[in-house]
């Protein structure tokens, strides 16, 4: 799991590379959770995530809920078709704001 964090204006852009499962989820939590501050804007770039397991989805939802609790905003960008479908039928997708690409994601957070 590789995680690249950059900042565009006031938006934290987190690029996740690799699968998110029970093995890698703790790394995601460790690195992304500290970004959640009051009013923070977080963009998770999922373009290079091919697979998310049950634990992976739970990790993202937990971070999302924490952001919500702090009046923050979180957007998922570039979900591949299978990941999006899995999230849809398991009920995770409806909790998130998603966009197709980075540009739209940044716009959604501005």
């Amino acid at each position: 799991m590789e995680i690249n964090i950059t900042t565009t204006e006031d938006i934290k852009v987190v690029e996740l590379i690799g699968d998110i499962d029970a093995n890698t989820a703790p790394t995601v939590t460790e690195q992304v959770k500290p970004l959640v501050e009051p009013g923070s804007k977080i963009l998770l770039d999922m373009t290079k995530v091919e697979y998310m397991s049950s634990a992976g989805l739970r990790t993202l939802l937990t971070i999302h809920r924490q952001a919500e609790a702090k009046q923050g905003n979180l957007v998922l960008v570039g979900l591949n078709e299978e990941v999006e479908d899995t999230m849809s039928v398991t009920g995770f997708l409806e909790h998130f704001k998603t966009t197709k690409d980075l540009e739209a994601g940044l716009a959604a957070l501005k």
């Binding site: 093995n23 049950s54 739970r58 039928v89 009920g91």
Partner: protein
Amino acid sequence: MDRIDIHPTHSYEGFKLRSGKPFPFGATIVPGGVNFSIFSSHAISCTLVLFEKHEKKPFAEIPFPEEFRIGNVYCMTVFDLDYENLEYGYRMDGPNNFQAGHWFDSSKILMDPYAKIIGGRDVWGVTPDWNDIYHHRARIAFDDFDWEDDRPLEIPPEDQVIYEMHVRSFTRHASSGVKERHQGTFAGIREKIPYLKELGVNAVELMPIYEFDEFENSRPNPQTGETLYNYWGYSTVGFFAPKAGYAATGKFGMQVDELKSLVKELHKNGIEVILDVVFNHTAEGNENGPTISFRGIDNKTYYMLTPEGYYYNFSGTGNTLNCNNPIVRGIVLDCLRYWASEYHIDGFRFDLAAILGRDPWGAPLANPPLLESLAFDPILAKCKLIAEAWDAGGLYQVGSFPAYGRWAEWNGKYRDGIRKFLKGDGTVGDAAQRLQGSPDLYAWSGRAPATSINFITAHDGFTMMDLVSYDGKHNEANGENNNDGTNDNDSWNCGWEGPTDDQGINALRHRQIKNALAMLMVSQGVPMILMGDEVGRTQYGNNNTYCHDNDLNWLDWTLLEKNADLFKFFKHCIAFRNLHPVLRNPWHFQNRDYVGSGYADITWHGTQAWNADWSDSSRTIAFMLCGKHAKQGAVEDNYIYVAMNMHWESLWFEIPGLPVGMNWHVFANTGATPPNESWQPGTEPMLENQSGLLMGDRSVAILVGK
């Protein structure tokens, strides 16, 4: 603050361990590790066997230290496990003595009866590796689904309209129009929620969805070579796990979330979920069946055994779960509580439920502890409990199932009585009882009309279209020389066996289906419709399609267009029932006027108003419901008059008069030429002649007085 029990106290070959907690049974994620707990009354030792997902060989075998055993429960916490990539099982050692009922064999790896996810049949129909040492593999589930504010709907039972369906059959057909990867799955049902809403049902009853093995007794069809499966799934492998092969995400092990998401979405749309549960036997079969779980863990406790050590077979499928043994009772109760609380399930239909009232030697109990426990359980308190009140051992309890004020029954006598009346056998007296919610069966013991689950067709037996297209069953495709399936179908082919181009016969068949549905929807009690009857689904005369993964079971969605008249009629009749509380009374009729309307709550008529013909040769009956008696007078409704002419000739029916100022309107008349055989409720045209109605041969009319 960290817990102080997160530190291991023992180690075994590099694994860190600690004495576990006996409750809850099964495998539970705890801080730092997984707690494993399993009971056996007769084992002398137990070993935990751990696999990485899909691996042929275990990566660890950890014997439970004797000091970790509490009573008959082996419990242990194992730390630092990759629980998402884990499959676990047990080896149990103990006596192996057939006559004594003990089948311990430590060479077998046994599935946890409390497994919440079961791998091994992750994708429907993928041929298993028969040499696998562990076929049905226990896995660990998350129990933190985000339900938000969802909870079971608690629709009053008399207000329900149940749709009995098979998960795979509903959307597997290419014509279903759902995404290919969702066909035949929970996700597929979710896509079809708008259809269910349009139809108007408010409960789906899912045929078994607990993990089962579609390859149990699988064999080639002698005629076609096609594989015959355990397709319906009335043979449970694990009672706590949803069928992986029914989930589009089963290959990722996410069936738990997919099913919960379906339940949540159905609830959002006002539709309850009832599960068809099979506690009477398991997939381990008879003496020659596979050892999966129970048999190797505690055979003598879980199964009813003869004094010689053989399996009693009250289920007709090889073995019988020993439901009134206190241990087994416990697991059944744990199971239902789990589904009610963890999956927000609204109700349960118990397959061959009469078995649940037998003692460990098979004798029927007057006061069966299991049925009583379920009826009074605090978590199940608002769940619908529905019994299939008979078993394959000859115990028939329709009308006498031990109910404790809670249990409803699949009313087999409703099915038989209405079918006979429909095909013109007369029997109007019996039909009248069925239309009223079977007070002859239930009123005397203080049981409400909603005790009666009214159905004319169900998964067992003919579909509605086949009921009016075949005189006899045609089960050759099952490979048992047409010997399987019931012969008591009370069906009539309307003049030709099977499909025909004869327009007259086809019109009569459609009319008979509408007659049947009209009767079902004006009956007091709870109506249940079989999936596909609303579009005329056929099984080509096969009345026992338990083994077919093909067109014999799959719903062909092109029928929706072909038989659009049926669908419209079903939709109208369901909407009519939902609109009129007088059809959904919570208590039986009293045959008197107790609100001062001048009319009794129900009155009976025939070709002459106020003069029903109850004779043996009668094939006509009509009744009127007084709208001021709706819900025992608690709400006001219109008056409703229903005339049924099951004679082969047209007959003039004189209609009872309404209170001054009201007029009869025609909601439905199956004898009318389509599309005028039914109207959208609320738009019914006024009847031209308010004193009478010419009823065509074999037709039903429903009038509404307002």
